[in-house]
């Protein structure tokens, strides 16, 4: 009677001891992500036409588009990583990076300057943190 639970227990213990870790062993091993994992939004400033659809549709109101100042701004803490902006972007200049949003210690607003490609093919683009 007593033997059966002991045999079962030993089996589980041996499996736990020899079966390797069930954890992902981060940061010893770099994390792996699935193809569809949604992460922080990234913009390709050379493709953006400042239509403002993403800012209008964002459920969290995290995106601000300034047509006059030619800037595209995202509040990383407000962003809920729903990928709605990337889905509706007519120029497909928004993509969701394939990893998790990194932790931050304060409010971060990423501001991107959007400059259309000039005739000579020279483009001026930059990112500043504010």
């Amino acid at each position: 009677m007593l033997l059966l639970p002991i045999v079962k227990m030993t089996k589980t213990v041996m499996k736990s001891l020899l079966g390797g870790s069930a954890c992902k062993m981060y940061p010893l091993r770099p994390p792996t992500f699935f193809g569809g994992t949604r992460g922080p939004v990234e913009i390709d400033p050379s493709k953006c036409v400042l239509c403002g659809l993403c800012a209008k549709k964002c459920p969290a109101g995290a995106i601000a588009v300034d047509r006059e100042g030619k800037t595209w701004e995202i509040d990383r803490l407000k962003c809920i990583v729903c990928s709605l902006c990337a889905d509706i972007c007519p120029k497909k200049c928004l993509v969701l990076r394939n990893d998790y949003t990194p932790p931050v210690t304060g409010e971060t607003k990423d501001v991107f300057r959007i400059e259309p490609v000039s005739k000579e093919g020279h483009q001026d683009q930059g990112k500043s943190k504010g």
């Binding site: 699935f34 569809g36 994992t37 949604r38 459920p59 990583v81 990928s83 709605l84």
Partner: protein
């Protein structure tokens, strides 16, 4: 009879990381009365409808709960679709069923882990959560999110699972189920789990019916009520029976959840076998005008969504009756007359989700 004393339980308590406060009136070590109070994490999500596009409201609804988030989004979508008369494609219905059942499995495994923890069985707790992690991986692979899936929308789903991924996921699920079976056997047969939960917080079938218990709390008392039988999403085309236990104690409620996980694995297999091809969404035109009650079965029980539209892009009223709210009455009844040491186990046995109950 001893002197009556009132001791507070929560809003911070080791067994429950969520804020519910109970005033426990005790005589000696016996609880005579429990008075619950809520309102510590009220977020006013229901009032947000007045400022939010009805299609974006699905994202808000998803954030009512951090466990059964997909089903909250689904409840909101179902209500709006019914008001607007939108016919959701068949494939989307099956996808919704698959993701709902994935949510149920991960929610129940989380609860089972917590139950093992409440009984002091730490290794069983870690094993339950180890299996849960694999389910979360499947959720992330198919929807892109671990807990907040963001996959449901008015008119269908935002993502599709391609055939290759579905086959791969089903293959992995077979191993997960085998793994789960060995854990379920411990919940079923182990002396310490049985000893801690049996005979604690007994609620008879009549009491459960009178107090309006829902979900595993009702089914643990022998009431065969499962909202999935209404046939929303693709449940109408799947074969299942509500899981019931008759004892009405914490052990019965635990067993209902243990068996429901098996049922969910089976439902996913059935849905994957029957899933038709075709589109996963239809275009939504116009604005909702009218009202509807949508009802669906969450891991904790039946949730009711009341939605009223006024023909503009903002809804008039949005009200959610969550299962935890319905189960607080039965919980207070179970607490009256129990031992003080059994209070954490009884509170845990209804699987309280306070962020749901507060919204």
């Amino acid at each position: 009879m001893g002197k009556r004393t009132v001791i507070p339980f929560g809003p911070q308590h080791p067994v429950l990381p969520e804020p519910i406060h109970l005033d426990l009136a005790i005589e000696d070590e016996r609880v005579v009365e429990a008075i619950p109070s809520l309102g510590f994490v009220h977020r006013g999500l229901e009032l947000l409808v007045e400022k939010m596009d009805f299609q974006e409201m699905v994202f808000v609804a998803e954030r009512i709960c951090g466990i059964c988030s997909f089903m909250h989004g689904l409840g909101c979508s179902l209500g709006i679709e019914e008001i607007m008369g939108i016919e959701v494609p068949e494939r989307a219905r099956y996808l919704r069923t698959i993701w709902s059942e994935l949510s149920r499995i991960h929610s129940h495994l989380l609860w089972l882990g917590l139950a093992a923890d409440a009984a002091g069985f730490e290794s069983l707790f870690t094993h339950s959560w180890r299996v849960r992690e694999k389910i979360l991986d499947i959720a992330e692979e198919t929807t892109g999110g671990r807990v907040i899936f963001g996959a449901c929308k008015v008119g269908g789903t935002r993502r599709d699972i391609d055939g290759e991924t579905l086959v791969r996921v089903l293959g992995r699920m077979k191993d997960i189920e085998a793994d789960y079976r060995s854990i379920a056997a411990v919940f079923r047969d182990d002396y310490s789990m049985r000893h801690r939960f049996s005979g604690v917080g007994v609620m008879s079938r009549e009491e459960a019916r009178e107090l309006g218990a829902v979900g595993p709390t009702a089914r643990g008392s022998g009431i065969a009520r499962d909202t999935r039988e209404l046939g929303y999403a693709a449940y109408g085309g799947l074969d299942f029976e509500p899981v019931i236990e008759d004892a009405g104690d914490c052990y019965a409620r635990c067993m209902v959840r243990v068996r429901e996980v098996h049922q969910s694995f089976d439902l996913i297999r059935q849905a994957a076998a029957k899933i038709p091809g075709g589109p996963v969404e239809v275009k939504v035109k116009g604005f909702p005008e009218g009202e509807y009650f949508s009802r669906l079965e969450q891991p904790r029980g039946e949730v009711i969504y009341y939605i009223r539209g006024n023909g503009t892009k903002f809804l008039d009223r949005f009200r959610v009756r969550t299962p935890t709210f319905a189960n607080i009455g039965p919980m207070v009844k179970m607490l009256a007359g129990c031992e003080l040491a059994d209070v954490p186990v009884i509170v845990l046995s209804i699987d309280p989700c306070i962020s749901c109950a507060e919204r």
